[in-house]
Subunit: 340 residues, 2 copies
């Protein structure tokens, strides 16, 4: 290991609030000396960055479930890394940790929100995926808000994405009929052939409403929405009595420069005595342990397949890799690996 | 009493499915002889008709929470009347009853869905209002779906209407801060001065968003929506964390000839971990007794004021009086009295 003072910390700071899709000019790429940990701090050498649709929201001004990233601030991101210097009593040099370390190569931490991870039992990227916030989001969104019963029909959009691919598998573990909506034949094939979904609808080439009639003839009991827009509207038109719609995200709307399109079929909630409920994973922090243990068990038994899409690019690749989320390039959890 | 064969039954049957606001040509006015009750039937002389926004929905084709009224069928309506002939063991001549007797002067019934009413303890129109479906809708929608806690802020739209005026008063009984949204200064005055609302917003002349900032500075915990459209969208932008939106109706949309406008601010549900849930009063049929007893108690104690807007017009006045619902002419429950 080099001495800390010889290390350079490359990082991306937010330079401007994007209009629509983030541009290169929205970022400031900076090289800084690495800071020495103060008393109660430790230094993390970041190896993997979590790339999430939610990051686009954090770049916007205005009230949300978490404060916006400030202009000039290191972009917020979940990450995995290794402790390389420590003056913190709970974290020792050599330990692997997960936390909101940001889009940078090194991060100082006081340990708040940081979890130790066991890279012996699962690869680091899994702790950003099925064993990380992604898995937590799927677990609590589906089980606490969606509340599927065996035999019910669960539909998930963004089904080949990080959260969606876990949601569908969890619903299968609960003996539901599971239909995924994804973009492209290859993703749809994967959902059915590799992840055990009962059916998949390719929104780019299929008539989603007609396919829902075919695959969910009795209506949709649980809809886990990651995309918003027209797909949300279409699924609303096919709800079963007492259906639960879980609002987890709205990736189709995040880069909109027009007004968000509201779901014109929302009165289907009334007709069907259905509910639509928003969820933010951070609210379940005191139950992460419960979910992580159960998810790790299913992974170990081979009943849950963690899909990660790891881009080996170095930190320079961050701006382009983030855009992959919105072009639908990734299958499963998108992770940027910035060091071995 | 005349013999039955001498009686003529005037009635309105649905002649066409309206486009937008119902027209005279959507109705067939017919005079028929009155039928003799068969075994297990009784004949009701109808005195009061319930006029409800939901009736507009029943005139449309397509799947809803109840089957559409068929072309040629007597228009569905709740009503109060008196039994004038009976071959039914549970209903005797002279008893006052409430049921879905339709827009006609006389109705044959087999007793299904029919309740006896005590016109000695409350006037007949109350059994269409606060002690009828209106009161049940307010009671279960607010308490079961809205679940307000003391001190929370409850907003209700269509606040001077049949359901809204009861919802606001029930929320006050639960020690909530209650804000009504209604059209016109006179309605707003009545909400505050006579029904005890804490504040009222006149959507015709006020800036609803700004008024919500003023009167609900900490956000809206429960929103009981009777109107949909722009008002729903505006209230969504002011939700508190964990808010509950009760979808009871969408009167602003019922006569639309354009596509329904979806709530563009629906992602506020996500940010605020809020829910939006549809309710249909018929689902609570097995608990009507519980609600009716409680509502009757509050009425008797003077803690709940039943507002009815009784039009004394005879059955001929039905088509015009129905339109009063959509022009906002009524305050409280709109009832058409067709006989003393």
């Amino acid at each position: 290991m080099s001495t800390l003072t010889e290390l350079t910390n490359h990082q991306f700071r937010l330079a401007a609030r994007p209009k629509g899709m983030p541009q290169h000019t929205d970022w400031e790429y900076r090289a800084e000396p690495v800071g020495e940990p103060g008393e109660g701090q430790f230094l993390v050498e970041v190896s993997h960055l979590s790339l999430d649709p939610a990051m686009r929201g954090w770049m916007n001004e205005g009230k949300s479930y978490i404060r916006p990233v400030r202009i000039g601030e290191v972009m917020r991101a979940g990450a995995i890394g290794k402790v390389i210097a420590s003056r913190h009593q709970d974290f020792a040099v050599g330990e692997h940790v997960s936390g909101m370390f940001g889009v940078q190569e090194y991060a100082l931490s006081d340990g708040r929100g940081v979890q130790r991870v066991d890279t012996g039992s699962a690869p680091p990227e899994s702790y950003l995926g099925a064993l990380g916030m992604t898995g937590m989001t799927a677990y609590f969104g589906l089980f606490d808000i969606g509340r599927p019963e065996p035999g019910q029909t669960v539909v998930v959009s963004g089904a080949a994405g990080a959260v969606g691919s876990v949601v569908g598998q969890l619903a299968k573990l609960k003996d539901c009929r599971v239909i995924g909506i994804a973009g492209g034949a290859e993703k749809c094939r994967l959902l059915v052939d590799e992840l055990g979904f009962d059916a998949a609808i390719d929104y780019k080439s299929d008539d989603v409403k007609q396919e829902l009639r075919t695959h969910a003839p009795d209506g949709v009991d649980v809809y886990f929405d990651n995309v918003g827009g027209d797909i949300l509207d279409t699924v609303l038109s096919r709800l079963a009595l007492g259906a639960r719609v879980v609002l987890c995200g709205a990736i189709s709307q995040y880069n909109n420069t027009d007004e968000v399109k509201g779901p014109a079929n929302y009165l289907s909630l009334l007709v069907n005595r259905a509910s639509m409920t928003g969820m933010v994973v951070f609210d379940y922090a005191d139950r992460y342990g419960e979910a992580a243990a159960e998810l790790a068990g299913w992974l170990a038994e081979g009943r849950l397949h963690a899909r990660e899409h790891v881009v080996e690019g170095g930190i320079d690749a961050f701006p382009e890799t983030l855009l992959d989320l919105f072009s639908g390039a990734n299958v499963g959890k998108l992770v940027l690996k910035i060091r071995d």
